[in-house]
């Protein structure tokens, strides 16, 4: 419904809400954080600030068909850490975070089952494992179940509010600000502790099916997770880690849907046009079919580049029972994939499922990009905690791990807030942010500027061609990265020309601005790591080998005085003994 849009900044009402714990992003981690907070202290005021509607927001909007990490009987949290470490080529990973997460993992998954999530079990009641660590579920209602629990526990939910900035008290975070996408108000949440759990950043790169027709958002990850959570911290000088370890995955081609469902769940091997089993043929020395994730992600792209494409997961051996089960799995996670197959009239026992790589994402639930956090999940900004995909250092979290993260971050936040008294509201800071937020909407009819869609398209092609997108088979080099930086700077300067025609457009405008923030930091990370450690996720064509001197974390921080991004390193610490490269 067309709302009466404000003509002037003073027409925009401001609402200030006080709370104890503010959770920015009511997704998987966010809901678990809220539930844990209310469990620890039912009298705590817990507020969720959500851009969409928590019942179906975030990565699990359509559901999930599996929980990718759940420690089976006979295995330990250390075993999980070892496996996770090997999956990212031996790390470096934050083993302290990984271990504490693994120790809280099973409890989080069992909570979900108690709340009504169907976990597939055999006759003896054991969970059905499809790989070493992942169990099958019928998770079409996964998000509603979590959201309802959060509401039932008494969390206050503010839906349709896009977060745009942290509320700062000097160096400390005391809440967040944003605007109502439906009601057009400016919101200020004052909180003793803040957890940012907005998921990862999608749409930094152009997805290869994005063009003038209806398939701009054929991405594996939720395209409405744009990295705002990262951006609001970056702007305040928070330290980020490992952004160069982008998440690129093998995906069904064109549709860009999950493939692990098939490749792991139904033992369908990756093949090329000649029917060769690629992983065995070319990557046996790295583990073959059990090679680290980035090898599996990159392999199809290498086949295409070498002229041996298309590439497939070989489903021709599946029985009709298995096909039905496979499709049921997809219906739980990405139902439209079944529609996609139907729209091609494809019988996957005759024509195997075609695969390709995806556009790169920054997502700390699969790789380890995100905020640098301490063991309590607090970022380098006091009062700001990160949970789920927004937190960095610990890859392979997935649904179960992000849930556990939510709990851990809350425990940290609750401990922290015991010492906090909120300062007076800094009205100047609020006014400044309010102006920044609403300016694109208040341009007036004569304004000659740039639409959010135009700027987004420019940024996405820039990143794709210069910062290692799909069209470049993920490859980049120093000169291209410098080019990218130069043009990103121009785009950031051109933000002053952005205009928005309604509140939805205003949200799109800020999504572009936030993405530019993350893209800039990402490119700095890619520049710093002058080696190729995780081919596909991070491929430097000018430094194709691994450099042992870079066996450490690459960090970044925006200097609040100069505004420049500084990059540096932190050392890796092995906690769980064993061969880093073996699970």
């Amino acid at each position: 419904m067309a709302k009466d849009l404000p003509k002037d900044l003073k027409d925009v009402p401001t609402e200030v809400i006080d709370t104890d714990l503010l959770i920015v992003g009511g997704g998987n981690a966010g809901c678990f954080a809220a539930i844990e907070a209310k469990k620890l202290n039912p009298d705590l005021r817990v507020t969720i600030m959500e851009k969409a509607h928590i019942s179906r927001s975030g990565a699990t909007a359509a559901g999930m068909d599996a929980i990718n990490t759940y420690i089976p009987k006979g295995k330990t949290p250390e075993d999980l850490v070892r496996w996770s470490r090997s999956q990212v080529g031996g790390g470096p990973i934050r083993e302290d975070l990984a271990l504490s997460n693994a120790q809280n993992l099973n409890e989080a998954v069992e909570d979900l089952e108690k709340w009504g999530l169907p976990i597939l079990r055999d006759e003896e009641g054991n969970a059905k494992y499809r790989g070493g660590w992942d169990i099958s579920i019928h998770g079409e209602q996964l998000k509603p179940i979590m959201a309802e629990k959060a509401m039932a526990m008494g969390a206050e939910v503010y839906n349709r509010i896009a977060a745009t900035a942290l509320l700062m008290d000097g160096e400390k975070c005391v809440g967040a600000m944003g605007f109502g996408v439906r009601d057009g108000k400016f919101y200020v949440f004052r909180a003793k502790a803040t957890i940012v759990s907005t998921g990862g950043a999608c749409g930094l790169y152009k997805s290869y099916t994005s063009d003038a027709t209806s398939s701009h958002h054929q991405t594996w990850m939720n395209p409405f997770n744009v990295g705002s959570g990262y951006a609001i911290g970056i702007r305040q000088g928070a330290e980020m880690t490992s952004l160069e370890q982008r998440w690129v995955a093998t995906r069904t081609k064109d549709f860009c849907g999950p493939v692990d469902t098939v490749s792991v769940g139904y033992k369908s091997l990756i093949t090329n046009a000649r029917g060769e089993r690629i992983l065995q043929k070319h990557y046996a020395h790295l583990g073959g079919d059990k090679a680290p994730r980035y090898i599996r992600a990159n392999a199809p792209m290498e086949e295409w580049l070498a002229g041996r494409g298309p590439t497939y997961v070989d489903t021709t051996h599946l029985t009709s029972e298995e096909v039905k089960d496979l499709k049921t799995d997809y219906l739980n996670e990405r139902p439209s994939f079944v529609l996609f197959l139907a729209a091609r009239g494809q019988d996957i026992t005759k024509e195997p499922i075609e695969i390709y790589g995806s556009d790169p994402y920054v997502v700390g639930g699969h790789t380890q990009s995100g905020y640098w956090v301490d063991i309590e999940r607090m970022t380098t900004i006091p009062g700001l905690f990160a949970a789920g995909e927004t937190a960095g250092g610990n890859p392979n979290k997935f649904v179960g791990g992000c849930a556990a993260e939510g709990k851990l971050a809350t425990r940290g936040a609750v401990k922290y807030m015991a010492t906090v008294t909120l300062p007076e509201l800094d009205t100047q800071q609020v006014e400044r942010e309010k102006e920044r937020v609403f300016t694109p909407l208040l341009r007036g009819p004569e304004f000659d500027g740039v639409s959010p869609m135009e700027m987004e398209e420019r940024m996405q092609r820039l990143m794709d061609e210069y910062a290692g997108g799909t069209s470049q088979f993920y490859r980049t080099n120093e000169e291209r990265l410098d080019y990218a930086l130069k043009h990103l700077k121009i785009l950031q300067d051109q933000v002053k020309y952005l205009y928005a025609k309604d509140l939805h457009d205003l949200m799109s405008a800020h999504e572009v601005v936030d993405r530019l923030e993350v893209a800039e930091v990402l490119v700095h990370h890619l520049k710093f790591r002058k080696e190729t450690r995780w081919q596909g996720w991070q491929t430097r064509s000018d430094y194709p080998e691994m450099d042992p001197k870079l066996d450490c974390f690459v960090e970044s921080r925006r200097n609040r005085e100069t505004g420049e991004i500084e990059t540096f390193t932190r050392p890796y610490e092995q906690i769980v003994p064993g061969d880093r490269y073996k699970p």
């Binding site: 019942s55 509603p144 309802e148 509401m151 039932a152």
Partner: protein, 789 residues
Amino acid sequence: MVWDLGERLARTLDLEALVQNLARAKGVTRCEINGDLWSEDSLTSLKDDLSAGHIDRILWVGRFSPDRMRILADELHTAGLNPFLHHWLDLEEQGVLLDGTDRVIMNRKALSLLEMALARTRLLEPLEPLEVPATDAMLIIGAGVAGIHTAASLAELGKRVYLVEKASGVGGKVALLSRFYPRLCDPHCGLQHALDKLEASPLVEFHTLATVKSLDGSPGNFEARIEQRPRYVNERHCNGCGECVAVCPVEVPSAPEAPQELLPQAAAWQKITALLQPGRKAIHPAYPMAFPRAYVIDREHCPAGCRECEKACPAQAIKLDQTSEEKVLRVGAVLVTTGWDPYPLGRVAEFGYGHHPRMISNLEMEKLLGAEVSGPSSPGFSLQDLNAVGFIQCVGSRDERHQKYCSSVCCSATLKQALAFKEQAPAATCYVFFMDLRATGFNEDLYRRARDLGVIFIRERPTEVKVDTEGGNLSIRVNDPILGRPILVDLDLLVLAGGMAPAAGTPELGQVLNLPQNQYGFFESHHQCHPEDGQRTGIYVGGCAREPMNVSRAIESAHLAAMKALKFLEGRVLIDPTYPLVDKTRCDQCKRCVEECPFGSFGFDEKGFPTPDLARCRQCGICMGVCPLGVISLRHHTIKQEAVQVEAINTAFMGEGEPVILAFLCENDAYLAARSAVHLGLPVPPNVIFIKVPCAGAVNNALVADALSFGIDGVLIAGCQDDQCHYVRGSQLVKKRRGDLGEKLRTMMIEPERVRFESLGIRQSQKYVRLLQTHIEDLKAMGPNPFKI
């Protein structure tokens, strides 16, 4: 606990095996066949188990009548078992003992039914009745004969009553009548006696010159805001001495000037009109009855600055500067007795009412008849001056162009008027022109007496009244059916017997009270078994506000309503604990429940979530049926409780080739028809398993989706006929929802005809059997449910 009286079940089913199967089910700690259920030992054993915590709910299997159920529930209540933790399963009524059906199938069916019952029993919850504090006052809108007599009865019972009347005095239309039939007595007699009692009672308050502006709150706790228009006279001080009238300089003209075309009859015009519209001063007694005693001023007629009455009043009762005031009344229930108004006869163009002084309405005739009693001291007109008076019946009534209905009293009223007239002018001739004479019941006597007095009855409706503009006479041309030829009748006075129309202000009052009107403009009523009841709980309509009726019926009707209202006048309202609950964590405020509740029972809480008014709610479950997310459930009859039953059905119990039907039967009519069908030994197909529901409208589409998705071949929803639904529109709503679902099924390549809605009356057992047979045939032709996967 299985109670197999006469071992009927054991004869057909492998009862022992079924019971053993059940005993192994999850949560079952005790399972037995008990032939001696009513013995001390048996009950004691149950009570012991309850106290020890071995069992906390009971599934009873057998034929238990309602009183038996109550006895067992009460007995076990003493041992601490909440009466809502029982589930009663009658296998027989589900048709497991039907002749000639395969034993294996019957056993499978019985097992399904037992598992269904068990599934529900697991989900039962203990419930406590709710008591909401309430007030004990009744609001009666309209202080006419029905309102006044009912107020007197209520006051006798110790209830407080507020009578709100828009006129300056009480009495309504009955106060305008000269006589009542059948005894031809004075209506003011009964009214005055009732008013004396009311005036003396501390429990009764009159508010005249008042109208109801808004009604908020809920049954038991209504808050009515009334607007009290200014009387300009202090009610407590004025004693009706009348000294003000003498000094009032304003004479509100009675007779308007005679219209041009009637100038030759100006004299007649003057006299009759003077009687029909007596002149009066600007200050005058209350009207139609001088009760309250205080006078009233028609301030619009006062000359500027005139304060004569104020100076003259010995009691200083005049308040010329009074303004409207708002009052708030807290009441438990509302009775609407706003009566009727005469149909505007001017609209019946063929007669020309209003253009001739000698053509009057039946209500106006009352004034003429009562003139020597209540009229001016020298009227200048006497009934004895009349030689021929005619009455035309059904003017504007039973007429497509005007009022389609019969007002039921006009014939008896005319007969009464003819008798009264003949009493005063025995020599005059009386004609009654009619279509049908509807003096029903004992009022036939009036007709005989009129005939005996020589009143002439002509069974034909005149279509034309001729007016002699010179002499001022009327004549009627009519075809006499007995003589077989047209006759011309000259008349001195013609009375048009018009009917009753809804009282002026009915639509506005309807808005305020949210009371719908029927197609004739009267307040809606159930009409059959609950004539006092409409769709607004706690608001009742009695008397002519509901339907044209005579005085004694109006009094009875209002009393019936008052009796039903008593439950809201007890100082507390008892709420059945089976009311609807909204799960606010999943509700997204789409407001469909609010829209579809036939009783307007939903309000909103401070966050905008729909909240049922428990005193208003009639627990029909239509909200539960319509909610797209299934977040509303009636307690003790929840969607989940039904869903687990649906899931427990063994969709293959009939074996290969035979379809399985799940029926949702509304407990008001359809269920009883189905139960009778088995009782009467009709050939009920064994393919059906039914679940009882409070109303067909309470069946949520998600349950139908469940049934189909689990592989049940056909779904039947049976309820009352559209216009007879006990909850007004449950059946209509099901049809609409079935349409939506049918569309979806079609796109899913499932035959929409698998899901059917049928109307079943309480004794339509034969129809039940036939429609099942048809459904089964059709399902066989369609093949098994494609979702039998």
